[in-house]
Symmetry: C5
Subunit: 358 residues, 5 copies
């Protein structure tokens, strides 16, 4: 995943402008609408935004979900229908925003990041949620639909989701996105454990690159998920009368999850830092080991090689001078030399032993 | 201990769902009930949850402790009897939660971590405590019972525990769990001291791995115990009328213990960091030492070996040319060479001495 | 960009003194004035400060922009006309100030930094903005004009800028400067990505210098942009009645951008730190690799070279002593020696294999 | 000094239990009592706790100091006489507590650490002080009495100590203990300065161990003294009506000292960290230096040694083949070889010069 | 500059005691008095403290400045005359205090640090300022007078200093001291830039020592200047009615300067940290480079030297055995050997090329 993921207009563009996105391929959008109360349930596919208007006037809660990448035209139609603020519209359209919560009159606008694994590397997808007094609109610019479990619970009337208000639906949507952090972090934890074992057993340069990649992903994951805590904190302290008291308990549970996710990411960060230290120290230790072997062998044999080199000289070959290497003519010259050389080697070994080199 | 220890439902599961845990082996549960007041004491083993109902109506304080892993069925029965919130129930069932305190109407729900040594490595066990106006329910999903000293004090009527209210019982339970941190940290401190000595005397690659393990354990221990301070702080500031003023002094003492435990963990963290630095610097220093020996020996003998190699050449053997190694024919060629070589060696030694290499 | 960029008077100079700047070359200044309301638009080039006086009494909003470096004389004339505080005047004149917001009676004075790339390295330019009840004066001591998009929007009556008050114009000016951070950080992110690839593939000493330069630029960029968050926070909390409620939403959006910019800079900082670790570990690993090859080759051949040196000695040449290297006279001496040496080499290889060196 | 110094009861012990301390040797205790007012002074040695009772009823201020290690029995007698809370009693008895201030009804209980040098290494001693409306009780479980200067001032009626209230006596006791930090930190600073010089001149492995010890001591010292700031802050904000307004100024001075001590400890910490960096970099630089010498010498002589080795081969000795080392038969073979070898050596030197290796 | 610079009395000394300072040489003191109002100006040298008394009763503002080191006697006379608190007196006398602001009834006491360069290294001098309703007393225990510019402005009636109150004079004194930080930090910045260039071009062990010294100075400078921000913050929030509203703007400007100075010091700190990293990595890279050259040369020539050593053996000299080095007798033995050795060298080169070693 690239470090810089924010989509933005050229500076100076009027707020609320929706330029065409230069994404490589556009993702086809589909709009689903669910209208429900404790006793009523209706689910339709919407092809025209205008169709949603009718549901707004009904007493039931309406949840409109736009999966995929709608055109600026469609977004403008939604904005007109639901009186969406131009700045919010721009944030929905230009993904890569920082998670945040913003309250416009009687509306709560939430941007939240969904972390998912694509090809073994973590990416983040922006989900934008609008909550009014009796409707929720959610935008998810991706192929994969994450809200199916909620829809199932709505259809089956399981749990309390049908009998509660808009705030509980908002909580359910936020909760599912935040909880997606746990499987992602579990996989991440397993990766760290695997790498740690590799590090302790046989570290290679490749291990290092894997470690660097983990740190990089963690860094980006942290930037993506960190603001969720503030988001939920703001939601809990929110003065808008959208959140009921009995939903607060659920949101506090959700808040605890964001704290736990942050704790985990901090632990992972410290773990990867500690693993890098382990790698570096390990490498240093091994280098030391290698050098000790080289030094012991070299310092023993280099002087010996010099000595045998001396007696390979040809001084005595052509001269009869008694100064010319008389040792060569001694009766016991050769064995004496061996004794002498063994003495040097032994002395060296004792010296190294004392130094504690082996 | 694995880094990721939280048990969780698939994202999107309705809150309060209790799925079967995929733990390798289930731990048989046993329920003990103590009913006491200053003048009354009754202790029974409970086999059916229904049996607890009778005690709730009595004026005495009832403490129900569930040791081991109860089935979801049992948990649901407790939930019904004591009106436990589904979210709390889920947190009791899915262990590995972050320590926290949560107040539901007239009930205080506490999750706290007990650090224990298993096979010389630290693990953490979750203990969940429910405190109502005249009852305390505690869950501990483990074999080992940690609350026996409290039970003894209750039976013997020692200290003030029998004459106080529910809040003092809650304090006693929290206090014993938090104080278990001290022996754990004392053992940890001894491990650090032992390792430090090993580092200063004869560090090996194994020392490094031990150090890494200490850092890892400390990291996880920190994540487990850090939230206890906030927990107690919240309990002290709590507006629920469960905590009486004279128990506050005891809770403040307990709070001081959590701070002291955090102080210790910080010191340990800094110590392990400093020890790693010591290891790395030590290794570097030794490498330097090794290399200096190699270099001194090599740079002295390599030129000398070259010189004796020169006079081992066979130029003078086959030619009578006066240009062919006339040195070999000199009367004092051999001793002159020795003087020359000694001069080189001496020069080198002086050079190294000046560099301060030995 | 130099680390120290602040221009200052000698300590003890009376506040509000405007000394001549010792910049190498002065930048010619030009003053543009725009007078506008929802229904009216006038744009003129101003050559004398006095000319501005007439516009102040009119009900329209007046925006005076001074591009380039005005003389102290001109500044004093503006100060007199708009009752600018001497301290503010000094800050406009001595660029390199810390971004800040200051409210003088009925006036808001803002200093903000514009980050731009000059010759592939980031520099920062100070923009000073004065906002009164119906006028805005902006100073930008540089050649390049950054506010042209605003002027275009004013001329074309696009967006809401013409129908809003002074606070919206102030927001628009701040917004364009802060948003200039995004393209700068995007370029920065690409530089980091490129360098990371270079690091992973073929790191050289030059890579290291590039990395150091990135860190340096990031450090300075951080110092320049960090105070923007506080600035906007202060503006949002400001009690001056200059900021209307419906502009607050826009300023909050602007505030979010400063937070996102800080998040990005933090991520970049951590990335560059991680990249340095990668570099160092990589270098260490390679050194280890190099040393292993050297050691394996050396320790195999050094003893062998000693052995063949032994049999190059001339003991047997001149003596008939039976102690003088009898091995040379053996029938199978030469092949036996080869077998012996092969044995040593093989033993060494097995030893290194076991050590896991190749 | 060991890292873990806290004395604690087994978890689950009832609060206020005083078990026998397992210290290696007990320190005999002595109790001194001073009863004073502006006009009155009486100093006695107390052998029975009961004797103190009489003084409590008198209007003068009574200061009881227990130097050494009293038995649990004695402590209980004091507790009964002065209505000391069991938790406070336990903290007095089990030394190694975190410095803190606690207010029980009309009583202020303070635990504070006194840093002293014993055998050139810093240890900390706990001093516990109880302040009531007209008495102060202080406990110091050590041989050495630190409060003698206060006693002298009381006897001589020097300064204002006799004419002030209990709060000023409490301040005087705290002040003397906190100020003991300055000579300790001065000595520490001198140690750092000495070690820094050693590092810059001739660092050895021993220097490293000294540095590690300094860091260790600093770490423990920090844990001991850090809480003093909070303690004084709490005392300053205290709502108990024990502290008069004119004593606040003195306590604020005392508070400033704790801040200055923390500043110094932070500086020391950064200094030791910087010194370790210096050590490591210094070692690396020297290693580089050593390796450069080895490499220059080796790479010049190794090829030359090969060449002279070539002409030491015996091909021409036994054969008459004209392919067998004809160079040996050339008239100028030997001098040509020297010229050739000098050329190689010169080339190498130029190569190294260009690389900037010497 | 030493790390520990605080002067202190032995712990337990009564507050306000002025012992003789053990500074190596005392600095002669001189007292100057300026009495001024908008219309009046008088400047005299004072030889007796008593002379100041007359000016106190006059309506003009009196500024008494004591340059150099007054005797305890003189200090006591000032204390009596101006009702200076003993603790403040002690702080004036014992220099090396932490910058702070303290308000005694109707008096503001300020301690502030002046950073100056002495012999190319930074030291700090303590300046103590007392401000009452119509007088200011300043103490500067140093030779060099820093307040001359203020005096000039007072004499020339330049700026507003003569027409304002005591608070503006206090601001002017603080401002000049704080602003002295800018030239000091500018020089520091230049030192860092110079060192950075040295590091990038030709780092030596001396560069490292210079870097360490910079870090050390920065550390001490930070401790000296850091509290200035809090000091000014306290002054701005001060409830004493000494500071008028229109002076607050000036103090806020002064506050901004302290923040900017802190920003600069943080940037410098990060820069020096980054430079150390650059140094270490650079050294590591160069070591790698050196080792690669050594390894390539060694591993090519060591096997070749072994081979020529083999054919320098004397097996064939004395024996006629057909097993004794028959290669020497081959017609093309010598050229075949050269081809063989060239093959080995070429193989090695290809191997190293593939490893990417050159």
């Amino acid at each position: 995943m690239a470090i810089f993921t924010k989509q933005y207009h050229p500076p100076g563009t009027a707020p609320g402008t929706l330029s065409d996105l230069e994404t490589t391929e556009s993702i086809e959008y589909r709009i689903s609408l669910i209208n429900f109360s404790d006793t009523y349930f209706e689910e339709i596919k919407v092809d025209k935004v205008e169709k949603c208007r009718a549901f707004l006037k009904q007493p039931e809660i309406t949840w409109i979900h736009i999966q995929g990448q709608p055109t600026p035209q469609i977004l403008h139609e939604f904005a007109t229908l639901f009186e969406i603020h131009p700045l919010a519209l721009e944030d929905i359209h230009n993904t890569g925003q920082r998670p945040k919560i913003e309250s416009y009159d009687n509306q709560l606008f939430t941007i939240i990041n969904l972390p998912i694994f694509v090809d073994d590397s973590i990416i983040s997808e922006q989900i934008s949620i609008f909550a009014g007094s009796d409707y929720v609109i959610s935008f998810h610019m991706s192929e994969k639909d994450s809200f199916e479990p909620i829809r199932k619970r709505l259809r089956k009337h399981s749990g309390k989701i049908r009998s509660r208000n808009v705030d509980y639906l908002l909580y359910s949507l936020l909760d599912i996105i935040i909880d997606e952090g746990f499987p992602v972090l579990e996989t991440f934890g397993e990766k760290i454990d695997t790498l740690e074992e590799e590090l302790l057993e046989k570290p290679t340069n490749n291990t290092l690159k894997k470690l660097h990649n983990l740190k990089r992903e963690l860094l980006i994951l942290r930037r993506m998920l960190w603001p969720h805590r503030d988001l939920l904190n703001k939601l809990l302290r929110d003065e808008s009368n959208l959140i009921n008291d009995d939903t607060t308990i659920y949101l506090r549970d959700c808040y605890d999850h964001t704290v736990q996710i942050m704790d985990l990411m901090e632990t992972y960060r410290d773990m990867t830092a500690s693993m890098l230290d382990l790698y570096l120290s390990s490498i240093s230790y091994k280098l030391n080991d290698v050098m000790r072997v080289l030094t012991v062998i070299s310092t023993i044999f280099i002087p010996l090689t010099f000595i045998v080199g001396v007696y390979g000289m040809n001084f005595s070959v052509n001269t009869k001078s008694s100064w010319a290497m008389p040792e060569l003519h001694w009766e016991y010259g050769y064995p004496i030399l061996w004794i002498f050389m063994s003495g040097i080697a032994l002395g060296m070994l004792i010296f190294f032993k004392r130094k504690g080199w082996f």
